[in-house]
């Protein structure tokens, strides 16, 4: 970077009439791929032959930039200190726009909130929804944005929580959504009777354009289908999994190559195991297997299994068939494989957590329930409730119940934090990603954004 103007590594700016002076070292933090980096690059500052009678010292110019000086001050401060401080009178959107002009939006994003920690979360924003009806699912994007599925459409928000173009798959009922990466969203939708729609498709998260429609063929004959839960294996040759229901009892789990979008495999449902109706799929990296959970109320008997695609078999399975006799019994409503892939965590209608040991053969140990009677009492007062959901992140376990999200830490999963907001009703879904937690409320379609503040100065 050329340090000629100003001399001594000092650089002078005139931004919208206001003078700034800084050093090349500070500006180096912006990186070469930013407007400021290019501005000071030697290719744009080739030595000018001094005109006749014009002494070279007078060439010590300042850079003029025709932009908002207040925002420039904030961004220059960001480059100097690495932390973002926005004065109260300065709208965030304005700052974001200016940051985009200078190519510093990524810097702002990185300084805006800190690394995710379930015990230090703070409510950053509540975004009201406009869609009618109940929300189905909310998913966090790897870059801090999110998308919310309502009925037949999916509303997409970037990390600045600006809404982008909503996407839909022929306006069919959306069963599940997932981010393939920050720029691509997968939608699994229900097939409507008499129409060859539904199925699964990938959309651009930025423009909302349809990118690819995933097909299922049985015996090389393409068939329409209803896609249920989605899962993604990002390692090796990336693969996409979805539970599928075909019209002619072609139930099972479809597998697609994420690079080409072509169908790679289809795991047909073995008798007695419900795969096509599965509520939850999760790829277990270390084990190399797919967890498939079919849960109440879709079926009366919950079943969880691990599918081994190389051996084409069920490597491990558990079912509560025969144990749940009455409605009072504990029913598994959601399941998640823990990070160490040694156990599956489940939750029941009383918000009890339970664990299934994946290492013991065929789940013979049964569910080890950890009773939380204290929490159960609150349950009685709730007017309308949603089914609880589970998530894990960085060794912490999260579960939603009614209008709050509980955070459990440590090897014994001790309750360490509770996230609650006063209105919006029960939480019907939540998701963690991009160092943020998004919680979708049952009423009014409002969703909350929880994030960890940047680390304290000292």
């Amino acid at each position: 970077m050329a340090a000629r103007p100003g001399g001594g590594g000092r650089v002078r700016f005139n931004v919208g009439g206001q003078a700034f002076e800084t050093t090349t070292t500070t500006l180096a933090n912006a990186g070469r791929d930013s407007m400021l980096g290019a501005l000071l690059d030697s290719s744009w500052n080739a030595p000018q032959a001094p005109g006749p009678g014009e002494p070279e010292a007078a060439a010590a110019t300042e850079y003029f930039i025709d932009r908002n000086p207040a925002c420039f001050a904030v961004l220059l401060d960001l480059l100097r200190t690495g932390s973002l401080h926005v004065p109260p009178h300065l709208p965030e959107k304005l700052l974001y726009r200016e940051a985009l002009y200078y190519g510093l939006l990524d810097h702002v994003r990185a300084a805006r909130w800190g690394a995710f920690d379930g015990d230090r979360l703070r409510l950053a924003s509540s975004v009201p929804g406009r869609a009618p009806g109940d929300g189905t699912a909310i998913r966090a994007s790897p870059d801090g944005g999110c998308c919310v599925a309502h009925g037949g459409a999916v509303h997409v928000y970037n990390w600045m929580l600006d809404e982008r173009r909503p996407i839909s798959l022929d306006h069919s009922q959306v069963n599940d959504v997932a981010y393939l990466d920050a720029a691509t969203i997968l939608i699994a939708a229900r097939e409507r009777l008499g129409k060859c729609d539904g199925g699964m498709a990938a959309f651009s998260a930025v423009s909302g354009d349809l990118r690819h429609r995933f097909r299922v063929a049985h015996g090389s004959e393409p068939k329409s289908f209803t896609a249920g839960a989605l899962a993604f294996d990002a390692h090796g040759a990336p693969r996409i999994f979805a539970s599928c229901k075909g019209r002619l009892n072609e139930y099972g789990v479809g597998v697609w190559d994420a690079a080409t979008g072509e169908q790679a495999d289809f795991f047909y449902e073995p008798p007695g195991v419900a795969l096509g109706d599965a509520d939850r799929l999760q790829w277990l990296d270390a084990t190399g297997a797919l967890m498939v959970a079919t849960l109440f109320p879709k079926t009366d008997n919950c079943s969880i299994g691990l599918l081994d695609f190389r051996g084409k078999g069920v490597a491990w399975s558990w079912s509560d068939a025969g144990t749940a006799a009455s409605l009072e019994d504990k029913r598994v409503l959601h399941a998640i494989a823990m990070d160490d892939e040694r156990s599956v965590c489940v939750i029941n209608q009383y918000d009890d957590l339970g664990f299934l040991d994946l290492r013991s053969a065929a789940g013979s140990g049964g569910v080890r329930w950890s009773s939380r009677s204290k929490l159960m009492n609150r349950k009685a007062t709730g007017e309308e409730s949603c089914y609880p959901k589970l998530a894990t992140h960085g060794g912490q376990l999260f579960s939603s119940m009614n209008d709050s999200v509980s955070v459990f830490s440590g090897p014994d999963h001790v309750l360490t934090s509770t996230l609650r907001r006063s209105y919006g009703g029960a939480i019907c879904d939540f998701s963690i990603g991009g160092d943020r937690l998004f919680a979708l409320h049952n009423e009014e379609n409002v969703f909350d954004v929880w994030e960890t503040p940047p680390p304290p100065i000292i």
Binding site: L39, Y63, G103
Partner: protein
């Protein structure tokens, strides 16, 4: 709608007039267009980056992104076309330089254009799935310049020509080559591969195919390999200098295929310089090169291995079956050892101690050593030779290494029990005649045999050593118990040998002279008195004696003779002339031994203490013997050897073999019984395999013999044949 007569009440939206300047796009684009021209003309110093960036920003902001992108392509194309014309016009050697110069210009300009359009790169391009500006510039360069009709072929030809002339020894501008291939790599690995690497490999293949054909016609194998090695090094160096590192592997494969793989057989089998003559002449350097080069060739090492193996087998076979060599067992074994040393050296210096080669060498030695069924005997004789007299000129360490080498040969033997037999005989001779030079070496050999074959193999040999030790003690005890008898009576030293441990031959006892007989009877009484329930048999054929003689001419000598010879000579104390028949009668020595004994006393020049009438070479029953009064010798002590052959005579050999065969029978039977006891029921073939496996460390049993033993066991009702399946045997408890 507006054409309708009756217009319903309608609220017109308030129209904002936001498009302030209708010429906004044209004006802005002109600014950028001019700037791009200046950039390509190296005249960018007058441009204001901030102004250009802001202009591009505004164009994207006001939705002119698509038009901006299209115009950018158009403008860039124009500049590239201009560059193309100038590159095409470059003559001869300037072509590459011009291409390089323009590429540098384009790269620099592209960098600046990208700076100006950075905002478009960030916002418009990701949402419209277009190629980013920099990559777009590379693609345009690729399609307009590198792959244009007039440049594409010329570029490739120029590069390949330069490489060819470098191969022929010319010096070329490597940095220019490097920057040109770097350009191709920058355009994407597929451009580099399609437009340069693949044709380069093809041209190289035909070049090396021709060159190797030419070399192989006129070069010896070693020389050819040197050239191939140099070419390989050159290509590796070339790649490191101005090509993608990934090409290294590919071009090496091409050179290896053309120069080595395609000519492998011919190179190895080359007359006078191929693999065999390298082995014969110990050309370590060439062999090392061959080993290293053919590491890259599939089947290369295995072919070298098989040629070496067949050569070793052939030379080994001619060595062990040469009747000339049989005459000197020590030399025979020494030659084997030399052969082994030679190939061990080759493998360690040239073949990187490759385990595969070592195994191949071992198996070929095993093959040819066992071609001669006298190998066990010869090896034992060699050890005998080394342990007997080798000590004088060799120190113990040398003997140790010799013994280690011998053990190597021993490992190759299939008939290890035969070796044991011979070794026992030779050891017995050494021990009894007191000619074992070093007790330590003897014991170290025993330890080696023990580690190789186990305790059983050497237990009897060890017994021999113990016998000697106790004999010494017993003799001392005898004289301590009978101290009075030291006067005139002969001194005896008795070796008490345990039956079974020693290779005793059934011997005809002879009549000992009365003086000796008296002492030996006294000893017998003493021994049986101390050890109850034992039996002593005199092995007169194995003893020796020192006797003092005064000849008729007055000369006095001390003679070292065998027991038989002593018996004969003692007879002459009382008689002057004895016929053969007399001697035979008096001594009762078996005729064969007696004849041999008389031969050595009467017919060996310089040691003829007896005189025979008539003076013929052979001894007949009517010959008469006298004391040779004219006997003279420079030495006081005279050792009378026995006319004996070190090597076994033909009948003895047959006998040893027969004995070995006999000894094997119980071993085979024991093995069969062991196996059957464990398995209860087994078919014939499995028994043969198992027995062979069990006995392998000692010898290789013949299947026919195994079958005979099985039959014998059936006869003795250890086994029976299965009634349903005649091939199955059943163990009878």
């Amino acid at each position: 709608m507006s054409s309708q007569k009756k217009r319903p009440a309608r609220i017109e939206p308030f129209r904002h007039k936001v498009e302030t300047d209708p010429k906004f796009f044209e004006k802005s684009w002109k600014k950028l267009h001019d700037a791009i021209r200046e950039i390509y003309n190296h005249n960018a110093s007058g441009l204001s980056f901030e102004e250009l960036y802001r202009t591009a920003y505004n164009m994207v902001l006001y939705k002119h992104g698509p038009a901006l992108y299209e115009n950018l392509i158009k403008t860039m194309m124009e500049h590239l076309q201009e560059m193309r014309r100038s590159i095409e016009a470059a003559q001869g050697g300037l072509f590459l330089e011009e291409l390089q110069r323009k590429w540098d210009d384009h790269n620099k300009a592209l960098q600046m254009i990208r700076d100006v359009l950075m905002y478009m790169d960030r916002t418009y391009i990701p949402s419209s799935k277009k190629t980013a500006v920099f990559d777009l510039g590379l693609e345009l360069w690729r399609d307009t310049i590198v792959r244009s009709a007039k440049i594409h072929g010329r570029l490739l030809d120029t590069l390949l020509d330069l490489i060819h002339s470098e191969r022929m020894g010319d010096v070329i501008n490597r940095s220019l080559m490097r920057s040109t291939t770097k350009m191709l790599m920058d355009l994407g690995s597929s451009v580099y591969q399609d437009d340069f690497e693949r044709p380069f490999l093809e041209v190289s293949a035909s070049f090396y195919s021709g060159e190797s054909q030419q070399f192989i016609e006129c070069c010896a194998c070693g020389e050819y390999l040197k050239k191939a090695q140099r070419r390989l090094d050159e290509e590796a160096e070339r790649v490191s200098q101005y090509m993608d590192a990934k090409t290294d592997e590919k071009i090496t494969a091409v050179v290896v295929k053309e120069t080595l793989t395609n000519h492998m057989q011919r190179l190895f089998l080359m007359e006078n310089s191929g693999l065999v003559s390298m082995l014969v002449e110990d050309k370590y350097e060439d062999l090392t090169m061959m080993y290293n080069l053919f590491r890259r060739v599939p089947d290369g090492h295995s072919t070298i291995k098989s040629i070496m193996t067949s050569h070793v087998k052939e030379t080994g076979k001619s060595l062990v079956t040469d009747p000339e060599r049989m005459k000197d067992p020590v030399d025979f074994v020494q030659r084997l050892l030399n052969e082994k040393d030679k190939y061990d050296n080759i493998i360690s210096t040239s073949f990187a101690n490759d385990k595969g080669f070592q195994n191949a060498l071992n198996s070929s030695f095993e093959y040819f050593i066992n071609l001669n069924n006298r190998s066990p005997e010869f090896i034992s004789l060699y050890v005998d030779d080394k342990l007997r007299k080798g000590m004088k000129d060799a120190n113990e360490e040398d003997v140790e290494t010799i013994l280690d080498k011998v053990m190597m040969l021993f490992r190759y033997l299939q008939e290890k029990d035969l070796f044991e037999k011979y070794y026992k005989q030779h050891l017995a001779k050494r021990l009894l005649s007191g000619r074992a030079a070093s007790d330590d070496s003897e014991r170290s050999m025993l330890v080696k045999l023990k580690t190789e074959c186990g305790y059983q193999f050497t237990s009897k040999l060890e017994g021999m050593f113990t016998d000697l030790k106790t004999s010494q003690d017993t003799t001392q005890g005898f004289y301590a118990a009978n101290p009075s008898d030291t006067g005139d009576a002969p001194l005896i030293s008795v070796q008490i040998l345990t039956t079974g441990s020693w290779p005793t031959q059934p011997c005809g006892t002879c009549n000992l002279p009365p003086e000796v007989l008296a002492v030996s009877e006294k000893f017998r009484a003493y021994y049986l008195g101390t050890h109850n329930g034992r039996r002593l048999t005199w092995q007169t054929n194995m003893g020796s004696a020192d006797i003092k003689v005064t000849f008729g001419n007055g000369s006095k000598h001390e003679l070292n003779v065998s027991t038989y010879q002593m018996c004969v000579l003692m007879l002459f104390n009382t008689a002057d002339c004895l016929t053969y028949r007399d001697i035979e009668q008096a001594t009762a020595i078996p005729p064969v031994d007696l004849k041999r004994c008389l031969q050595s006393l009467a017919l060996v020049k310089g040691k003829n203490v007896l005189r025979k009438e008539p003076m013929s070479r052979d001894i007949s029953a009517d010959d008469s013997f006298y004391v040779n009064d004219k006997f003279t010798s420079k030495l006081f002590k005279v050792k009378i050897g026995t006319v004996a052959v070190q090597k076994e005579s033909e009948p003895e050999k047959m006998e040893t073999r027969h004995r070995v065969e006999e000894d094997r029978k119980p071993q085979i039977e024991a093995a069969i019984v062991r196996i059957m006891k464990a398995r209860r029921v087994l078919d014939h073939n499995s028994i043969v395999t198992e027995v062979t496996k069990q006995l392998q460390p000692r010898f290789l049993p013949n299947p026919v013999v195994i079958k005979k033993r099985l039959e014998s066991l059936i006869e003795r009702e250890f086994l029976e044949r299965d009634k349903a399946d005649r091939k199955m045997y059943r163990y009878l408890a």
